[in-house]
Every structure is written in C-alpha cells, then in structure tokens.
C-alpha cells in the first residue's frame, strides 16, 4: 500500500471521522468560550468604565462642590449699610485658598454690588452698582446655586461663572468667576488602566477639561471639540459604554457620567486595544489550545486509523497472496480482537486449502498409473499405503502394435503421432473402464496390472475381458488405419503369478510397478502374439476356465524360459461370441 492510496481508502475515512469527532467539540467549545469571554469582558468593561466615569464625575463634582462650599461662607450674614471690612478679608482669604477663582463679586439683598475682588483687575469696594438684572443673580435667586455656560476667555481659557445666594435674601449673593484650567489638576490625575484618560464636555459639547491642556485652550473651536463630542454622542443617553474613535482616529472604549450642577459630561476613554487586552490574551490562549488540541487530535486520529487499517491491510495483502497460490502464507495479526479472529480464520482456510491442494496433487499423481476410480479410492482411504511394496498375485497385461516400427519409419511424424494418439486414447478408455492399473507405456507398447494395488475379485477374468476389449477397440482402429494405407497389427499377452509390486523411482518421479517373472512372461507372450491374437499363460487360462472360451495352443518355447510354456489363446473371432454370450449374463 502506498501512502497515496491510504488517503483514498478506509484510512482516510477513519482519520477524518476520528479527527472530526475530536476536533469538532474542541472547536465548538473554543468558539463558545471565546464568545462568552467576549461577553464577560464587555460586561466587565461596561461595569469598570461605568465605575470609572462615575468616580470621575464625583471628582469633578467635588471640585465644583469645594468651590460652592467656600462661596457659602460669604453668604451667611446680612448686609448693613456700612462697608463690611470683615467680609472683604474673608473674600481675600477665599481667593488665596481657592486658586481656581479668578474674581469674586458680592451683591447685597437688593442686588447692589458691594464688593468686587479680582486677581487681575482692580478691586471695587461699595460701588453699589445695580446688578439685579444680572443673569447670574437672577439664576441664583431661582435655584440658589447657578452655573453659567462655559465661556472662553480671549477665545482660549474656559471660565465658569458660579452664583450662589444664602438661605435668606438679606445675606445677598456671591458671584465667582472660576478658571476651569484648574480642573486640569483633577482631570490629569484621573488615570484608567495604563493609558485611559478622562475629559469633560459642557452641556453644548465643548471641551473644557482634558489631560492635554493645549486641547482645552482650543476647546472653543469646533474642530477641537468635535471628535470628543462624537465620543460622547456614541455613548448616548443610555450611559453604557460604547466604542468610538478619539481625535487621532484610534478606537476607544468610553463611558460617560453627568456632573450635576453645571450639567457637564465626564467621559472616560480607554484605547480599545488596552480595554480588550485581557480578551485578546484569552482568545490567543484559546486559539493556541485549539491548535495544540487539533494537532493532538490529528496524531490520535492518525494512530487510531493506522491501528484500524493496518490489520485490514495485512488481511488484504494476505488474502491476495493466498489467492495468488501462496497457500503456505499466514496472516500475522495479534491484536486480540475481531481482526485477529478474522486472520486466524483466513489462516485456517489457507491451511485447509493447502491440504486440499496437496490432496489434489496426490490424486493427480496417483491417476497417472491408477484408474481414476482407484485413485479416488486410495485418496479417500486417506493414505497411500496400498502403494507400498509387497508381494502379491497379479495379472500382467502387455500389448503392442505389430509392424509399427516399419510404419513409423515410412510415415510422417504427424501421422505417427496421430496414430499413437488414437491408439492410446482407445486403450486408456479400456484400462479405466476395467479399473486396471496402468503401469507404463513406451512407444507402441503398454503394460497394465490387474489386482494391484487394488485387489479385484476374479482378476483373471477381469484381465481377459480387458484384453478382449482392447483387441476389439484397437482392431476397429486398425480397420480405419488400413483404409489410410497404414499396415499395423495389434497383439496382447497376459500372465498371472506372484510379483513384487510397489512404488519405484525417486521423489519427483515415482512410478508404480510390478517386478517378477510373471512380468517377463506376459511381455514374452505379448511379443509372441500375432495380430488379433491374445496369448495367456496357464494360470490365467485356469482362472477363466469355463467362463471364457480359452483355446489351448500347446507348449511354446518362450525366450528367457528354459522349458516350453503352455500357452492359451483367446481367438479374436471368438470374442464377438464371447461378447454375445456374456451380454445376456449382464
């Protein structure tokens, strides 16, 4: 198997399924965690920024409240017609203690200016100018404490006018000019996180306080205040936190809180990158964990898929090899599971196939010299001990063609082979039919054994019938050959007697044969037999006496035998009779 193939087959499917099974829940949980982390961080940020803006608003309120508290001391005692030296001292002291106040105006209960003290301009004492129409006085009388709109002194410094009346008209009113640049001390001290900051917008959205004083000094300009107003407007009246862009275009998270009294808005802003830094860190961690988990899932899936497909691959390989004929191949799987059982079952099948094949081979070998039925019998018996060497009575049948050598010398090889082919085809059929044992054939001659290795009842009779059948068949062939101009004859010799039978030869070339004088006798008889003649010895003749028409041919001198041997024959002509006579017997 090549790795390329592995990604097309089961491995790929297993790998994908396992990986997805592990990675999907991980990714899912990471996304969930990220989403909840984002929401938590937003909620935390909202709470935190809300808290910061509220505390910033409180600080600013304290700044304003500190001033109004101080102003309260100046509106406690009623005015008399006399110049009030003590009140002047108080006012001077207040101016010294509260640097943000640029000037103070004290008005009596009738709205007349009694005292004006300034850091820059000349003081006025008892000017008695009628200030009853002053919006500061009107506003303070209506609401006790009145805050003006923010004004920009010379287009630059933000100033606020605060007016305050006492708890009864006779104590008059104090009007203070407050230099809002002094809020810088408060605002620049407000730090949120690492780079968070606060700024203040007045009710019309102009910048009146910012850690960068140069922005405040340009607060009257629309261009300066606009981006800050945009942040405030992005937060809107809901007072939750919002994301917006600061003057430099960087994203900020901002929250706002109102300052009661002058009706300002304090906005606290923190760069979004800093505000979300914990979230980004958490997301980064989650992403890293997800990546590591995915890699682990991949390795796990690879290992598991490999573990699952490796036995399948071995099985596939093994069955291929077994199928290709390597029956001795065994599939080696020791996983202890179904795969091992499957492999064992394949191995069993292979060993059975191997046995069957050996069986087949043995039969094939046996069939070379045994009739197929006999071979099957031997095979069924399970062992071939019947082929072991022993001494037994056998009938040996020899036959060959007469005048074949002369014919083969004159005929073409094709003709010779054609004749032999027909000849052996015919003889083979007969040998098989009579369940005789074919020992060997050479050229035109054939040796057949009856009663070995498988014992047969009345072997002589069986041999005679075999010989007769041979003669009949071959003579029929010879008649055909004669018409083609071939002049050959056919003779058979049979002899019966004890012989040593068994396998001879070596490992790859084993033959079954019979050894003994009976073999020689049969061969000599065959050699003596003329065309159409079947010569038998006395023992065979005795065996079939009364059953087949045997003709005594008298003693005959046979080569290799000292004395003349009594020979019998079965005439070819009687064969048809014998045939006719036997047929009714069945």
């Amino acid at each position: 198997m090549f790795p390329r193939d592995r990604f097309r087959g089961l491995f790929y499917k297993y790998f994908l399924a396992l990986f997805v099974a592990v990675a999907t829940p991980l990714a899912f949980s990471a996304v969930i965690e990220g989403w909840f982390g984002y929401r938590d961080q937003r909620a935390r940020l909202d709470q935190w920024l809300g808290l910061q803006s509220a505390s910033a608003a409180a600080e600013i309120h304290d700044f304003i409240h500190g001033i109004t508290t101080q102003l309260g001391w100046l509106v406690q005692l009623p005015w008399t017609e006399e110049p009030d030296e003590r009140r002047r001292t108080d006012a001077l002291r207040l101016l010294r203690q509260t640097p943000a106040i640029a000037s103070l105006t004290l008005l009596d209960g009738n709205g007349l200016e009694r005292l004006y003290i300034s850091r820059i301009g000349l003081n006025r004492i008892e000017s008695r100018a009628d200030r009853s129409a002053d919006p500061a006085l009107v506003g303070a009388r209506a609401a006790r404490i009145w805050f003006s709109d923010v004004s920009y002194n010379r287009g630059s410094e933000p100033y606020l006018t605060v007016a305050m009346v006492g708890n009864r008209p006779a104590v008059g009113t104090v009007v203070a000019e407050v230099n809002l640049k002094l809020i810088w001390d408060v605002v620049s001290a407000l730090k949120f996180g690492r780079t968070g900051y606060a700024f203040i917008l007045d009710r019309s959205g102009r910048l009146i306080a910012h850690p960068d004083i140069s922005l405040v000094l340009r607060g009257a300009e629309e261009a300066t205040s606009k981006p800050f107003r945009a942040v405030r407007d992005a937060i809107g009246p809901t007072r939750g936190f919002a994301t917006s862009r600061d003057a430099q275009g960087h994203y900020v998270a901002a929250s706002a809180a109102p300052v009661q009294g002058p009706d300002w808005t304090v906005v606290v802003a923190q760069p979004l990158s800093e505000a979300y830094a914990p979230l980004y860190a958490a997301l980064w961690r989650t992403a890293m964990l997800l990546a590591i988990s995915s890699i682990l899932a991949g390795i796990l899936a690879y290992a598991l898929a490999d573990r699952m497909t490796e036995p399948i691959k071995l099985l596939e390989e093994g069955t291929e090899r077994i199928g290709a004929g390597a029956l001795d191949h065994r599939i080696s799987i020791h996983t202890g599971d179904e795969f091992q059982r499957l492999a064992d079952s394949f191995n069993r099948m292979a060993s059975e196939l191997e046995l069957a094949q050996q069986h087949q081979e043995r039969i094939a070998k046996l069939k070379r010299f045994l009739a197929p039925q006999v071979a099957d019998l031997v095979d069924r018996a399970g062992d071939d001990s019947v082929l072991d060497g022993r001494r037994t009575d056998v009938v040996v049948v020899f036959c060959d063609l007469r005048g074949f050598t002369a014919f083969s010398a004159g005929a073409t090889p094709d003709e010779v082979m054609s004749v032999l082919s027909e000849y052996y085809e015919s003889l083979g059929t007969v040998v098989a039919k009579f369940e005789a044992t074919l020992i060997n054939f050479s050229g035109d001659g054939l040796m057949v054994l009856v009663n070995a290795p498988v014992p047969i009842e009345e072997p002589a009779l069986r041999a005679i019938d075999l010989a007769v059948d041979m003669q009949k068949n071959v003579q029929a062939l010879i008649a055909g050959w004669r018409s083609r101009g071939y002049h050959v004859g056919f003779g058979i010799g049979l002899a019966s007697g004890p012989a040593t039978v068994g396998r001879i030869g070596y490992k790859d070339r084993l033959d079954y044969t019979a050894i003994g004088s009976v073999v020689n006798l049969a061969a000599r008889l065959c050699a003596s037999a003329a065309d159409k003649e079947i010569l038998i010895d006395a023992k065979v003749a005795a065996g079939v006496k009364g059953k087949r028409p045997v003709e005594d041919l008298g003693g005959r001198k046979i080569k290799g035998f000292d004395e003349a041997i009594p020979i019998f024959g079965i005439s070819f002509n009687s064969l048809s009779l014998a045939e006719a006579g036997r047929s009714p017997d069945g």
């Binding site: 640097p99 943000a100 850091r119 820059i120 000349l122 010379r154 630059s156 230099n179 140069s214 340009r218």
Partner: protein, 317 residues
C-alpha cells in the same frame, strides 16, 4: 504617541547627535538659575533630560538686551531643533525676528497678542508659541496694593523702563487705574542699573510716596539690587517678582515664574516630540502671587492691614 515615534525614529536616524535646544537668555546663568531649574523640570516632565536625550545650546546676553537679536540669529544659524526664548518680551521678539520657520517657545510677562508675537492665544499661528505669566496685566494691581498700604498718599511714583516693548501699554493701564484709585502718578524712567539709585533717591526725597515698578524683566532680574536700594533709601516699593521681598523689599505681585518656566519646558519637549507650535495654544499661568515682607514693613513704619495679610500668598516675617 505618534510624536514619540517620530522623535524616536529621528533620534535613531541621527545618532549620535541628540536634538538640540537653543536657549536664548537675556541674563547671566547666576541670575537665571531658579528659572532654568524650573525649565529643566518641565522638560523632564515631557521626557527630556539634558545630556541624556537632549542638548542645550545656551546664549547669555548678560543683561545687554541689545545683543539678543544677534544671539538669536546665531542659534538659528546653528540649526537648533527648537529655540527657547524665556525671560520677557524682548527675548521673544528677538527670537521671532530671527526665524519664521524654526520652532520657538517663549516665556514672558506681557500680552503676546498685543505685542504681535502670536495671532491669538488658542491659535498662535506660525512657528512660535509659549507661556505668558500675566505680570504685565497685573501692573495696575501693584498700584492698588501700594494705594492700600498708603491710603493717605495722593501721589505714587512709577518706574518704567523706556526700552521695554510693554512700557506704553503698562503706563496707559496705570494711568487709568490711578484715576480710579484717585491718585496722581509720577513716572520715573530707568533702563540701566546706574539709574536705579537716582530713582530711589527721588522717591526718598518726596517722603510721602510709594514706588511701583512696572513689569519688566530687567527690573525683575535685579530684584536684590532694588531691594538693597529700597532698604537704603527707606522707600516702600512693589515689584513683579517674589525675589524682591525675599531680598528684603516690601512686596511683590506677579505671575509665578516657576510655573511659567516649567510650562515653557513642557512645550519645548512637546515640540521636540514632533508637535507644531501652531497647534499649541499660548498658556497663561494660573497663579498670580502676592508676597509681602512684614519685616520690611516694620522698618518702613507701614503696617499691613489684616485683610492684606489674609490675601497674601506668602508672608515673610
């Protein structure tokens, strides 16, 4: 942030040369020590320390204000990164005249718009911005304080430096204030140290008058001399700077020069970090302080009223 990045890049690109501040000073290092310290403090708040990441090229006029234009031109020629012109309107005007492109940070007591140093406070325009200490604006207040101390005086004497760019406007305001306060003014001129003696001698001869100094750096930096003369001639006098009562003079009323010089230092630092002077509004100091010397008052036979003492930012006993 962008400014820091720009500055950092530039500082690396030009290493080893550090940015250079051209410091144009009307006086000597000794007289200017406390101001210079405040300037360094401001510069440090903006992230710059002399010798570490900034160099300062000093030019001292040593009281010869006529040399200021030449010294300013020299600093411009040396191609300093920013020109700092502290110590009054003459310095600012000399620096402004020297270059229309070089960033300039001034520190002075007068009104920079009125003196045509800048177009407006919030939008200075051009290459110059800085800090104004309000000392010139409060000249009439000094007259008022002297009147408070000497309610019976019908005449007060005012010293003006005729060479000062703000002399005329201050005199105008003082005359208006004198009308309001119901006193006559006698104007004395002094533009050199040699003339101080005759000023005090003239007031001492008059006997029933106080001496009000107009805001002028030349006077401010010579506070100890003026204090010594005031003691010598037994003249009640008020100047713009706290140096005067500290040195034995009667009282002072003016802007906090520590604050103004510190802020000038911050602005110089911000310009070094890449901000443009036109984007930095002119700052006015928030603190105007009254410093009185009770010992001097006792010597002169003039007691400060309780309201006076209550309103003083610092009382020297």
């Amino acid at each position: 942030m962008a400014g820091v990045a720009t500055w950092t890049t530039r500082s690396y690109a030009q290493k080893p040369s550090m940015p250079v501040i051209g410091y144009l000073c009307p006086e000597s290092p000794e007289l200017f020590a406390s101001r210079l310290q405040a300037f360094h403090q401001g510069l440090g708040e903006a992230g710059f320390v002399e010798g570490r990441n900034v160099k300062i090229d000093f030019q001292w006029a040593n009281g010869q204000y006529s040399r200021l234009p030449g010294l300013a031109a020299e600093l411009v020629a040396r191609n300093v990164d920013v020109l700092v012109a502290p110590g009054g309107a003459p310095v600012a005007l000399a620096a402004k005249a020297a270059s229309t492109t070089k960033p300039i940070v001034f520190e002075m007591g007068g009104d920079p718009v009125q003196l045509h140093v800048v177009d407006s406070l919030s939008r200075p325009g051009g290459n110059i911005t800085g800090v104004s200490s309000l000392s010139v604006d409060v000249s009439p207040k000094r007259l008022e304080f002297m009147r408070d101390l000497m309610p019976t005086a019908t005449k007060l004497m005012v010293v003006v430096n005729p060479t000062s760019p703000t002399a005329q406007s201050q005199l105008q305001k003082l005359h208006a204030a004198a009308d309001t306060l119901g006193v006559r003014l006698e104007i004395l001129g002094a533009s050199k140290e040699a003339e101080f003696d005759s000023v005090f001698a003239a007031v001492a001869k008059d006997g029933a008058s106080g001496l009000v100094f107009t805001s002028d750096p030349y006077f401010a930096f010579r506070s100890s001399q003026l204090a010594a003369l005031a003691v010598k001639y037994r003249v009640p006098a008020i100047t713009q700077t706290r140096d005067f009562p500290i040195a034995g003079g009667l009282m002072s009323y003016g802007g906090d020069f520590m604050q103004s010089h510190r802020r000038a230092g911050i602005y110089a630092g911000r310009i070094l970090m890449g901000e443009k002077p036109s984007d930095l509004p002119v700052q006015l100091v928030t603190k105007v302080e009254l410093v009185i010397n009770l010992k001097a008052a006792k010597l002169l036979g003039h007691a400060f009223s309780s309201a006076f003492v209550a309103g003083a930012d610092e009382v020297i006993e």
